[in-house]
């Protein structure tokens, strides 16, 4: 096993991990051009554009292209996040050449026909309606929106009914040109050697026009003051979906690794404090976890639980108390030792396949992670001290600026929850079918 290697191939920037275990090859063509570049009022443009490119590659009829992709034993998708757009797929080795030709068609020669644009927009609007059935998804959408209100990270990647209606075909065509002129990164893994990967990358690079590096103008997000409760009101909920959080970590923070270790102890594993108190001791929620994702700017820290409606208030009270105790008293040496062992040893499963290894390398490049972020990860974790973890928790965990989002039936849970949140600044009840 070796770290992903960067190869020089014409102008293409190629990451590669070879594995001949299975006759499969995976390819990701990535750009740093994501949904946060959607113009205000036209949220959802990049995702709509990438999906339309995927459907109309080479000017084909979508049905014909999908049949072609399936028939060669391939899967191809377009994935848009706030900061990146990825065209990625996997193919049975025997069809690699045809697969790369399809990639060229999608990125460089999309048809973007008007009839398909209108059809896809109607489909996305129907998906938005359908997504109202997903309580967990609702909690996540409202948490993102309220957490990063006014910041690009708060925008709806899939758009809203209003923003999707404002998007024109010209907008999509312009966005497709922008995606195909952003500097691409190529990541190959699987049953392929370097020379072939380089040649194929150059072929795909040929469809990019004047590709240039894209700077990221996103400002650092800030948090609205006070403790805010947002109840997403949905009828007949026997259960609630709860997200509690605030601003989290940045990969360039000096205490970034220490905070990750602290979060592991708090809510990162099945034996962590949150699971122990919420699930094991009380049986209140099937899952209880906390997370600290990263992006190119500071992202959110959040705790996630889903207790029944009658337990929601008590569960929130418990979580807030645990968060306060963590911030004030920190973690113990015994907990730190266990967490470091877990993180360093389980890293084996972050790098046990070629696609995972190349994925980490790609992530480092796309998100401007510090050099050696993944390669030196276990060493950094092993070097973290108890003081560093506790200082990081004290400095970074949210206290006064806190967002609590609950999906549930407001009339049944609101007053009980409000009574359990000390220093609550505001409560907002939003209908579950409001745009988010």
């Amino acid at each position: 096993m070796s770290a992903a290697t960067k190869a020089s191939a014409g102008r293409a920037d190629v990451l590669l991990e070879v594995s001949h275990d299975l006759p499969l090859v995976s390819l990701t063509v990535a750009t740093r051009n994501g949904g946060m570049f959607d113009p205000p009022g036209k949220e959802g443009l990049t995702r709509l554009c990438a999906r339309l490119m995927r459907r109309t590659g080479g000017g084909r009829d979508p049905q014909e292209l999908d049949t072609r992709v399936d028939s060669i034993g391939a899967s191809v998708g377009a994935d848009v996040a706030q900061s990146v757009t990825l065209f990625q797929g996997t193919v049975i080795r025997r069809s690699l050449d045809a697969f790369v030709e399809i990639a060229c068609d999608i990125i460089g020669r999309p048809g973007l026909a008007e009839v398909e644009f209108e059809r896809l927009r109607r489909e996305v609007l129907a998906e938005l309606v359908e997504s109202l059935d997903d309580d967990r998804g609702l909690a996540r959408r409202w948490f993102r929106r309220k957490m990063f209100e006014g910041h690009p990270y708060g925008r709806a990647l899939s758009g809203t009914a209003t923003s999707l209606s404002a998007i024109s075909l010209d907008d999509v065509r312009e966005r497709a040109r922008a995606l195909a002129s952003s500097e691409p990164l190529f990541a190959f893994s699987g049953d392929i050697e370097r020379a072939e990967a380089e040649a194929l990358s150059d072929r795909v690079l040929g469809v990019f026009s004047d590709s240039k590096p894209l700077s990221d103008p996103t400002p650092e997000p800030t948090m609205a003051p006070g403790r805010r409760l947002v109840i997403v009101d949905k009828p007949e909920r026997t259960q609630t979906q709860i997200l509690i959080g605030g601003l989290g970590t940045h990969a360039h923070d000096p205490d970034h690794t220490a905070l990750l270790v602290g979060n592991t102890i708090f809510g990162g594993t099945f034996t962590a404090r949150l699971t122990d108190e919420v699930r094991s001791k009380r049986g209140w929620s099937y899952g209880a976890y906390s997370s600290l994702p990263f992006d190119r700017r500071r992202q959110a820290f959040s705790m996630w639980t889903f207790p029944k409606a009658d337990d929601a208030a008590a569960c929130i009270e418990l979580e807030l108390g645990m968060l306060q105790a963590l911030r004030e008293k920190g973690v113990t040496k015994k907990e730190l030792t266990a967490a470091k062992r877990y993180l360093t040893r389980s890293h084996a499963f972050a790098i046990d396949t070629a696609s995972k290894r190349v994925g980490l390398e790609l992530e480092g490049r796309l998100y401007d992670l510090p050099p050696g972020y993944h390669a030196e990860y276990t060493k950094r974790v092993a070097a973290v001290t108890l003081d560093e973890v506790n200082q990081a928790l004290q400095a970074r965990l949210p206290e006064k600026e806190l967002l609590i989002v609950v999906v549930g039936t407001a009339s049944e849970i609101r007053s009980a929850i409000e009574a359990k949140i000390p220093d609550l600044g505001s409560t907002e009840v939003v209908p579950h079918d409001a745009e988010a």
């Binding site: 594995s19 399936d70 489909e123 359908e130």
Partner: protein
């Protein structure tokens, strides 16, 4: 098969039930090989050497699932799966998980109609810990009242999450309890809520004693370890565990469904939905892979027939899905269609019926069959990327069919299936008057009385 010298030597010093018999190895696809052994107590062992990464997948499959439950006690197999992560004799509660996490392991478990499986993936230098712990929990689980009470509440919350507050989960449950009247498949694996809340510690202890025995289990190990070291560890750890007298199964065949059964429910959802169940063959039946291929033609991906007509051309559905239940006994091929706003579920069913009648009459084009076959092949290969994926595939096929490499046999069957076979299974299984249907109607919005 002749016993290799290293195994004979190992057997000389084995514990009472620790002697190993080597069985014929079997192929697992074109490149992999699976060694097979059996301990004296009946424990089956499958080992697939794989040195592509310094990790090991260690799975334990028990031949017990919700099919073994009786009325009033549904959900016991699943609740018990949760309890298996609690306390072991001589160890503190929670120590099992703590030890595994400190070793860097990833562990989980699942229960379905026919089986329960426990999976642990571990860095290769911590293998002995996993073998020891898994052997311990096969015989030394401690069941105490407070833990059973707490875990029942966890499972009740899991049920609220997956079923009660989830439209698809709740209508799927209703579909199965409508389509099955006699066979144990009529009850959901997670159990009915009153049953979950009614379990006693004694129920759990009895279940453990009855079903968690080496002669009711298969160990599947995939990864970077040598055969002799692995088997020495297994023989030592499991060699004291006696076999059980397993009860005869008490499963009743499902009588043929001779009429269409229709139910309706109201849910707080903006769009109508419909789920439909046709009785399908058992996983081991010759027809199962052929029917699965037909479902791929009809529902697999955006180029499939139903997606094309309902989502793309007519734009009356937002989603269409289907799968053929992979079960020991005949199950259901389950269809799920979600209507777009303003459309009735019946509109979708009308188009569906036209397409089902079409595959009963007109031969499917070779290109469509080829497309579906390629999707199958890609799906199988992609599922084998990790050691855990390989172990799951081996364990599932061994537990259900007694043939660990059968995933590739199914691929062969799919390669052989032609338009005639597809039409035959369409005619056999898509009886429009012998199916079950659950319609989901949109409930009129009830004001919560809250405003901001």
């Amino acid at each position: 098969m002749p016993t290799p010298p290293w195994l004979s030597k190992l057997n000389e010093k084995a514990k009472p039930y620790g002697k190993l018999t080597a069985l014929e190895p079997v192929a697992f696809g074109p490149n992999l090989r699976v060694e097979r052994y059996r301990l004296e107590n009946g424990l089956e062992i499958l080992f697939c050497p794989d040195r592509s990464a310094p990790v090991i997948a260690y799975h334990t499959w028990f031949r017990v699932g919700s099919r073994h439950e009786r009325e009033g006690k549904t959900g016991l197999a699943h609740l018990f799966e949760h309890l298996m992560f609690n306390e072991l004799e001589g160890r503190k509660a929670g120590e099992f998980d703590r030890l595994l996490e400190e070793a860097g392991a990833e562990s989980n478990a699942s229960t379905w109609l026919d089986w329960t499986q426990y999976n642990i993936s571990i860095p290769k230098d911590r293998l002995s810990l996993v073998v020891g712990l898994e052997a311990e929990r096969m015989q030394k689980l401690v069941l105490r009242e407070p833990q059973v009470v707490s875990e029942k509440e966890v499972v009740a919350n899991e049920r609220r999450y997956r079923v009660d507050d989830d439209i698809e989960g709740s209508v799927s449950e209703l579909l199965w309890s409508t389509a099955f009247t006699r066979h144990a498949y009529k009850a959901p694996t997670i159990g009915w809520m009153p049953d979950i809340q009614g379990f006693t510690t004694e129920d759990c202890a009895e279940f453990y004693k009855t079903f968690y025995a080496p002669n009711n289990a298969v160990l599947v190990v995939v990864g970077d370890v040598g055969s002799s070291r692995l088997l020495e560890l297994i023989s030592r750890a499991y060699g004291d565990i006696p076999p059980s007298q397993l009860p005869l199964e008490d499963v009743h065949p499902e009588p043929a469904q001779l009429e269409q059964r229709v139910k309706e429910v109201e849910k707080p959802t903006p769009t109508e939905k419909v789920t439909i169940g046709f009785h399908s063959p058992a996983f081991g039946d010759w027809d199962h892979p052929i029917l699965s291929l037909l479902i791929e033609v009809l529902f697999g991906g955006r180029a499939s027939r139903l997606h094309k007509r309902l989502v793309r051309d007519l734009e009356i559905a937002s989603e269409v899905r289907s799968f053929v239940g992979p079960f020991k006994d005949p199950g259901l091929v389950e269809l799920f269609l979600s209507a777009r706003e303003g459309h009735k579920a019946e509109e979708l069913v009308k188009v569906l019926d036209e397409e089902l009648e079409r595959v009963k009459e007109e031969p499917i084009e070779p290109e469509e069959i080829e497309r579906a076959r390629a999707r199958f092949e890609l799906g199988l290969l992609a599922g084998l990327e990790t050691m855990d994926g390989k172990a799951s595939t081996l364990g599932f096929h061994e537990t259900l069919l007694g043939r660990p490499g059968a995933a590739f046999d199914r691929l062969d069957a799919i390669r052989l299936a032609d338009a005639s076979e597809l039409r035959r299974v369409a005619r056999r299984y898509f009886g429009l008057n012998t199916r079950s249907i659950v319609y989901v109607r949109s409930q009129a919005p009830a004001a919560s009385g809250e405003a901001s």
